[in-house]
Amino acid sequence: MLDSLALAVSVPLIGALLVTAVPGRVQGLGLLAALATLATVGLVTAEVWQQGSLRSDLGGWGAPLGISLAADGLSAALLAMAALVALAVSVYASGYFSRGETETHFWPLWLLLWAALNGLLLAADLFNLYVTLELLGLTAAALGALTGTRAAVEASLRYLLVGLLGSLAYLLGVALLYTAYGTLDMALLGAAVRPEPIAGSALVLMTAGLALKAALFPMHFWLPPAHANAPAPVSAALSALVVKAAFYLMLRLWLDVFAPLVTPWAAGLMGLLGALAVFWGSWRALRAERLKLMAAYSTVAQIGYLCLFLPVLTALPAGDAREDLLVALLLMALTHGFAKAGLFLAAGLVQRSAGHDRIDDLGGTAQHMPATTFSIGLAGIALIGLPPSGSFVGKWILMRSVIESGQWWWIPVILVGTLLAAAYVFRVLSRAFNLEPTPRRFVTQARTEVPALLLALTSAAVLGLAARPLWRLLGFEGGL
């Protein structure tokens, strides 16, 4: 009996243990573990594709006593995105870190983070989610400090503390839920939860904790320094995956567990915070002096974008329109994941090549690395939401739903967000055109440039043109 769900968590975990125990072969073993993890995730996705959803009772106990793992289209899609991004990050890291200390420290933590991510996306138990959240937070903070600079350690420490605060708020919520309903399984809770004060308190506490981890405005303050000072492959993973994981969990709680409690006002508040995040994050990204800081602020804005879906989603009745919107939300999250990872990886190369990443002085570097500049451009297209990126399709469906649900006031938010994103992306890209001599060739360092380029390309072209399988994966009409 092959339990693909358990494998998706244990394979990266075993990889982490292996590279910890055998530090001499860290790179080879690490890449091998990355490939193996991708394979297990492929298995999960394939099974979800065929069967719709998966559930595995670990230890054979089953809910409510034991812990279960579960996968549906939403988690499978994010799992697959995480695996592809993580593989690209792994290949990139194998070329980015010079052999030595940093590499020895990077791989075990990185594989642990991946295991935590898969664990989080597959968990069906609220307390188990707490453990995966903590594992994710600890590994993320430790990885963020890997550059060893004072700024990085300081930012990561803050990240760690904020993450702990978020986890504790979440845990208190879990304790309240167990008090009231006597179970930790999400499906059972979803059936049991009633609109009453204790469930409402749990929702508020857990949402607040997760919003802190997802860096939702105004709780985003820790993100930019932490993401901007981490080594490039880590920044990519933090911005593309870790933050998304917290948002995913929040979405799961709102849609699956607490659905009876979610009022239009609560969803509207999330949308409002999202709108503020779009404005503030984009504005700061536009004013950022450093490329990686710009990318980090852009993440704040993108999380805001995702929150804009919530009020519209709650306003729509169950049916095709709501399903389309849910897929659009997923598509947006996936696109941003690929795009942000590609952007950070490319930014890392620029930083390494130029010795800095001040946007105003990037001219020559951009000119010498066409492939990397292209990656930034393609990722930028996806961040702005221009066609044919996945976020364009997502934005189109979002705007259509906004109009159909009569909440037209989100339209200006979306437009302003788009234009500000265009402004900060092209502020960087315009540095690529200057009087420097001709570049030597398109790709100069395949091992690092190609992963970034592929990620960016996926976000800018592939996802938008080939989004239809997502409907099928989520089990909705309108798929293939």
Binding site: L386, W396, M399, L435
Partner: protein, 499 residues
């Protein structure tokens, strides 16, 4: 999938794929790059030729890719699409030859020609777009592909021009997107059809339809350089001459004007648009733009700037044609889409030749240039006279049909506008011709890059304007021949107004 379903996609890809390969080429592979460029251009023209033949014989060419439920990417070849696709692919072939000559010895050619190819792919995509979603997609891709060309030179001026270009086009794109999405929310997913698909909607939403029209118009008006959205066009004159030619005659401005035509005829339907009272504001906007552009052109000393303002003015003839209810005016507007293109590209090629050969950038430096470069100046004269509307050059045909259409629709004020505009056209073109032919040449040219040899300049620079000038004459002289732009425009008008 049979071939008819693939052809539109293949036509778009025929320049896209060479473009991608060109990016990957080493900078030194000039020959291979040239071969790729020319192959793509020639294949595209041939394929479009096949399509013309097919459309004429009633084939339906349609590529459809479903992005999401209700979101179809549709490439569909109707008569209007084929008209624009032919224009852009033929002119692209000519421009490619010109650009290869023009950019010899300059840096970053892989990047330039890569985006150059993407640009024309996007334009053909705009031409063949079968619904608003597809139109928006290629319209935005066009912005993305042209920005690097505008900023290509990398000078502070070019960077600034690029920035302004982006600011306008991105803003316009956002408004267009709102309009398109809003429209879809009202009407559901709909493809372009002759006569539009909105007239069946409930009168309650007519108010919304009016608002949507202005969103769409604002988005399209930016690229079509309608006043007051034209500010980017003169600024982007910093780009190399082939790019200017492309922007003004083939791609960007044309895409905007083409979009207006599409929205008026195939989304709203000209009759329904008239019923909603949308045509009058469009006509007023076009009129203002025509007069303003011509007026500004009068005062410019920079040759390319003068041409740029002339474009602002001339492109609005197309919008003007669309704003008059009646088949003859429609013919005039649509045919001007082609005629303006071939005339304006001739002028830009010539301007590039003057700059590249003699370093002449300003009108005031053009004294006697006709004696040094008679062939180029001949081509320039054909284009300029055509713009004024002198028979038998193409521009005359457009203006004639516009005027007739105005009479048919009892819109006599249009005649006045046409007369005034032609006077202004003459006012800024004739002095150039006078200087070029009748003033004595200076002792030294500002910067003589290419000495006079067997030809007055390089062959790759000389032939393109001569060819396009010939087009201008042929399109005017043989306007009544089958497959002429005029015949094609007549076909379109007949389908729009129906039996």
């Amino acid at each position: 999938m049979n071939l008819d379903q693939l052809l539109p996609a293949v036509i778009v890809l025929s320049s896209f794929l060479p473009g991608v390969f060109i990016f990957l080429l080493k900078e030194e592979s000039h020959l291979l790059r040239g071969v790729l460029n020319m192959t793509g251009a020639i294949v595209k023209v041939l394929l479009v030729g096949v399509m013309i033949w097919g459309v004429f014989h009633g084939h339906v060419y349609e590529t459809r890719l479903t992005l999401a439920p209700g979101l179809d990417l549709v490439l569909h070849a109707d008569a209007l699409a084929v008209l624009f696709a032919t224009l852009s692919s033929v002119l692209w072939l000519v421009t490619t030859i010109y650009a290869i000559g023009y950019l010899e010895h300059s840096p970053n050619r892989s990047r330039f020609f890569g985006f150059f190819s993407l640009c024309v792919s996007a334009t053909v995509g705009v031409a063949l777009a079968g619904n608003l979603l597809t139109f928006v997609v290629f319209y935005e891709v066009l912005t993305l592909a042209t920005y690097p060309l505008v900023a290509h030179r990398g000078t502070p001026d070019a960077t600034r021009g690029g920035k302004i270009y982006l600011a306008y086009t991105m803003g316009g794109g956002a408004l267009l997107l709102v309009g398109a999405v809003w429209l879809q929310a009202l009407s559901g997913p709909s493809d372009f059809v002759h006569g539009g698909f909105l007239s069946g909607l409930h009168p309650d939403v007519w108010g919304q339809l009016v608002a949507i029209f202005f969103f769409l118009l604002a988005g399209l008006g930016v690229k079509a350089a309608l006043v007051p959205l034209h500010g980017w066009l003169p600024q982007s004159m910093v780009a190399p001459a082939p790019v200017s030619a492309l922007l003004h005659a083939v791609a960007v401005v044309k895409a905007g004007a083409f979009g207006i035509v599409r929205v008026v005829y195939d989304v709203y339907g000209v009759g329904f648009a008239d019923a909603l009272g949308l045509l009058t504001p469009l006509g007023i906007l076009a009129t203002i733009t025509i007069l303003y552009g011509s007026g500004m052109a009068l005062t410019q000393d920079g040759l390319k700037k003068r041409l740029a303002y002339s474009t602002v003015s001339q492109v609005s003839y197309i919008a003007l044609g669309a704003s008059i209810l009646g088949p003859i005016a429609t013919i005039g507007g649509v045919v001007h889409l082609v005629h303006q293109g071939i005339m304006k590209i001739t002028l830009f090629f010539c301007a590039g030749n003057y700059a590249e050969t003699l370093g002449v950038h300003k009108v005031s430096q053009m004294d006697g240039v006709g004696r040094r470069m008679p062939w180029t100046t001949l081509a320039f004269s054909v284009g300029a006279l055509g713009m004024i509307g002198i028979p038998p050059i193409a521009g005359f045909v457009s203006k004639w049909y516009l005027a007739m259409g105005a009479v048919e629709a009892d819109a006599y004020w249009v005649l006045l506008i046409l007369a005034l505009s032609s006077l202004l056209n003459a006012g800024y073109f004739l002095p150039i011709l006078y200087r070029a032919w009748f003033r004595p040449p200076p002792k030294r040219w500002p910067e003589e890059h290419i000495p006079a040899g067997r030809f007055e300049t390089m062959g790759a620079l000389l032939w393109p304007p001569l060819i396009t000038a010939a087009f201008c004459l042929v399109a005017g002289l043989f306007a009544a021949a089958p497959f002429s732009p005029l015949e094609w425009a007549t076909l379109i008008a007949r389908r729009e107004y129906g039996p």
